[in-house]
């Protein structure tokens, strides 16, 4: 084995036990001392590689493992929690939807007629266009011209919906005009009736107008008058 090959082999692995390397070293004192030298250097290298290990590294590694496990366990239990939360949430949503299903307020309007009969003007001042418009303004609407024979203008609640109630004296008897703001959760039937009254509604851009009169009253004139005179701003 020549010098170069010997060095190559020793450099590649000073701990080698290959027999040809060992034989070559036995036969040549220079090779032997080169090998020893190299072994010595390797010892020093090993020593030099032994940099300080952070003192608490082992405990950190064990600690982080238990936190990881704990977090996973938490995640697992959170799964059940999430499930329960979802169910509760779904029930909540269901109940709310059920609660808020569109309420039909035709019947409410009819019920109001019962005491509209008895109702007298809260204000003794005659209802004029300004007053009506002032009240209607909160719904974004106004009359361009006063309806004939308006006696009472009042807010009233049809179920949970605040609306404007006008009681109008007409040749066909007393009629009520309800201005109901448009809301997603209410439905206004186009016609409704009971033993005493009947009503029709006009669907407008931002509101519904319901006109209720006596059972036999003809509502068409009033419908026409209202739809011509009322307007809603955006």
């Amino acid at each position: 084995m020549d010098e170069l090959e010997f060095r190559r082999r020793i450099y590649a692995d000073p701990e080698t036990t290959d027999s040809d390397v060992v034989e070559a070293a036995k036969a040549d004192g220079n090779k032997r001392s080169f090998w020893n030298e190299q072994k010595q250097l390797d010892k020093q290298l090993k020593q030099a590689l032994k940099v300080d290990v952070p003192e608490d590294l082992a405990s950190k590694l064990i600690w982080q493992q238990s936190t990881d496990e704990f977090n996973r366990y938490k995640r697992r239990s959170r799964w059940y929690l999430a499930m329960a939360a979802s169910v509760a949430f779904a029930v909540g949503i269901g109940l709310t939807m059920w609660y808020h299903q569109p309420l039909s307020i035709g019947g409410q309007a009819l019920a109001h007629m019962q005491y509209a009969e008895m109702e007298s003007a809260h204000s003794l001042l005659p209802a004029d266009l300004n007053m009506v418009n002032a009240k209607l303004a909160s719904f974004g609407g106004s009359f361009s011209e006063m309806l004939d024979g308006v006696e009472v203008v009042n807010y009233c609640h049809l179920s949970t919906v605040r609306s404007l109630h006008l009681i109008v004296n007409t040749p066909q008897g007393k009629m009520s005009v309800f201005v109901v703001p448009e809301r997603g959760d209410i439905s206004v039937p186009s016609e409704f009736a009971d033993e005493q009254y009947h009503g029709e509604s006009i669907k407008m851009k931002h509101a519904n107008v319901m006109i209720v009169g006596d059972k036999d009253a003809d509502l068409s004139d009033m419908k026409k008058a209202v739809s011509e005179r009322i307007q809603f701003s955006a």
């Binding site: 450099y11 590649a12 390797d42 290298l45 030099a48 590689l49 940099v51 493992q65 990881d68």
Partner: protein, 185 residues
């Protein structure tokens, strides 16, 4: 029925306990060498520590996949090398070329021998393709074949790199001695 459930959960608990013990044994046996390997691979103490932590966390999570305790060392090294590679994928932008930095400053190794420090500086100066096989050999006592398996190289390539690594170290040492000789003489 309850009786059986109880013994099942006892079984799970004792499996868990066994896994813990196995993990702790793994940590105790290898954390120092794995850390040193990481340090010499990365040449930064705190990054090395992070990578080691990530390595052992992954090892813990897939501890069941480790069937052969004798393979534990190279298994950990494989995980560590993957973690280290991931680090480069993750933050390519804010890494500096670590080969350009001299991290072996005097404060870190103030207590080390002068010779140690000199060798450490030289080891750190080797390019990683020579440094890595050398530290695998020196720290873990891997054979050329084992190093080849670990690094995905054939044995001859590994032996050549080991030869060149030591050759470079030797040359650098001789050069230093010469310089020192000149200065002193």
């Amino acid at each position: 029925m309850f009786g059986r459930n109880k013994s099942d959960s006892d079984q799970v608990l004792s499996d868990m306990k066994a896994k813990h013990q196995r993990y702790e044994a793994l940590v105790k046996a290898f954390h120092a060498d794995i850390y040193r390997y990481a340090f010499w691979l990365i040449k930064d103490q705190s990054i090395a520590e992070d990578v080691v932590q990530e390595t052992f966390l992954r090892a813990w999570r897939s501890l069941d996949a480790l069937n052969d305790e004798k393979a534990a060392k190279s298994w950990l090294i494989t995980i560590l090398r993957r973690e280290n590679a991931r680090r480069f994928e993750r933050k390519q932008f804010d890494t500096v070329d670590i080969d350009d930095c001299h991290i072996q400053d005097d404060t870190q190794h103030a207590d080390g021998e002068l010779k140690d420090r000199e060798l450490q500086r030289l080891l750190g100066g080797l390019s990683v393709e020579y440094r890595e096989p050398l530290i695998l050999q020196l720290i873990f006592g891997f054979s050329g074949e084992e190093i080849g398996n670990q690094l995905g190289l054939n044995k001859n390539t590994v032996m050549t790199r080991l030869f060149r690594a030591r050759n470079q170290l030797k040359e650098a040492l001789e050069k230093q001695d010469e310089q020192r000789g000149r200065v002193n003489g």
